[in-house]
Amino acid sequence: MRYFPHTEEDIRRMLETIGVESLDALFSGVPPDCRSSGSMNLPDPLCEWELDRKMDEMAGQNAAVPNLTLLLGAGRYHHHIPSIVPALANRSEFLTAYTPYQPEISQGTLQAIYEYQTLAARLMGMDVVTASHYDGATALAESLLMAVRKTGKSTVVVSRAIHPHFRQVIQTYLKPTGFVVVEAGFTDEGTTDLTGIDWTDAAALAVQSPNFFGCVEPLSRHADAAHGTGALLVASFTEALSLGILKNPGSQGADIVAGEGQSFGLPMGFGGPGLGMLGARQDLVRTLPGRLIGKTRDRNGNPGFVLTLATREQHIRREKATSNICSNNGHCALTAAIYLATLGAEGLVRMARTNHNKAAYLAEKLQEIGMPLVFSAPFFNEFVVQAPPRFEAVRRTLMEKGILAGLSIQTHYPELDNPYLFCATETVSRAEIDRFLAEVKP
């Protein structure tokens, strides 16, 4: 993005125009106790090549791909990003801090988001998809508020097999509102256990598939259970690429689908920014928070794109808006649309299959060296194994060797026995997996 600093001359002329003597005088209205006094604790300025070297040194302290064999997912996934994706997405026409929704000047951006909505709706099996949200966790929390609005009930049943961070965000959204969150446990197979659940006043059942353990949930069965009590089924996901190979949630009875789309062409970053994908059945359209782009015709009959159903949003309804804590991660949605268009329907299926095959190979080999799968339900590209006690020490030495091997999920699930969550995507080669296995072999 362009950055134009003001020159001394610019500043002098601006101050002169408004009749202020100096920059300090301009800010004199800020109360003294709100202003910093003295100099800031910053190092001396560096020239460009010194700064480059400094930043490289700092970056070198990170364990980061591609210099790392990454056998970890848990909500962020390392997928190859075809170079056409950033090349198109980073065109300056698309890069703006302002949300460009004025249809007279923003047909390109609006069409891009419309295309994203169309692709996402097909993948999730939903009738209507929003222009996106901050991330999967906030999209999921919003979807539970939708269910509460739609049903007029005030309890939500949330699976413990949903990503722990997603569940924290649900608490953050729902706790102050007085809505009750009931947790459902999981079975020995690794999927959500609904036996003994108190469905009184339940607005929704929320499950994630593949869930945090990587296991594919029986969504149709969950849909029947929820619908039988008058609750909606909310299906979430953290690994969007799984949609390339699994039956879409809508076809299995999900009323709302809310998940994270980072896998679609977005780098892992430091956990963000993400892409909150949120879609629903048509009869829930007026409970959807955030932006929707619609296709219409102008007065000359030409097709065009505009914001639609915006009357429920905060710039019109203020405190009565459907949501006051949502925005649209427009550039991430655009990137996802380009990624999906690049892979195409067939490419997405092949990519998903490659992921599953790599993970299946890793799981099989880990079992052979004494790290059995904890759960028996089918998985996509992640799974949980029970590691021997000495594994944590080995794992630390592997970090030094450039291998990030799984994540202990013991603190989140104390009832499991030394559980490690592993992931393999298309980016990890069989040679890398074999090298890792040779290191771990007892």
């Binding site: 009357t311 429920r312 019109i316 309804r317 009565k320």
Partner: protein, 132 residues
């Protein structure tokens, strides 16, 4: 938007300051929004109505009406229990524009405090309020 003199405010109805009207029928009352309200809103595209059996106090929000310009809350002018809603509005919300006092009615209440009806404005008082 039309001038107030071009709008209709039937004498047989009572009006609330939030622009709902009520028509008493024995122990029940039919509720809708006034010609002025529909004219201010513009083309109505969606009406969200309560479920039969819902109970409201006077002043409670009983639904929303959405036009191309805005979403507005519908305020119950009387206390009561909903005995019927106008399901025709689901697919033809524009009835609120074309016939606000007839086909565009919204709900029928069994009044729990019928005396509230007499507290509502007459047509003349409502027009006087609109003219400010």
């Amino acid at each position: 938007m039309k001038d107030i003199t071009e709008l209709r405010f039937p004498e047989n109805l009572r009006y609330a300051s939030d622009h709902e009207w009520a028509r008493r029928e024995a122990e029940e009352a039919v509720i809708g929004i006034s010609d002025y309200a529909q004219d201010q809103l513009g083309d109505v595209v969606y009406v969200e109505l309560p479920k039969v059996g819902a109970r409201f106090a006077k002043g409670d929000v009983f639904g929303t009406v959405e036009s191309v310009k805005a979403v507005s809350e519908l305020i119950a002018p009387l206390a009561g229990e909903v005995v019927a809603v106008n399901s025709a509005l689901e697919n033809t919300p524009d009835l609120v524009n074309s016939d606000p006092y007839g086909e565009g009615w919204m709900m029928r209440l069994r009044c729990t405090q019928p005396e509230q009806y007499d507290e509502l404005m007459t047509s003349g008082a409502y027009v006087a309020m609109l003219k400010g």
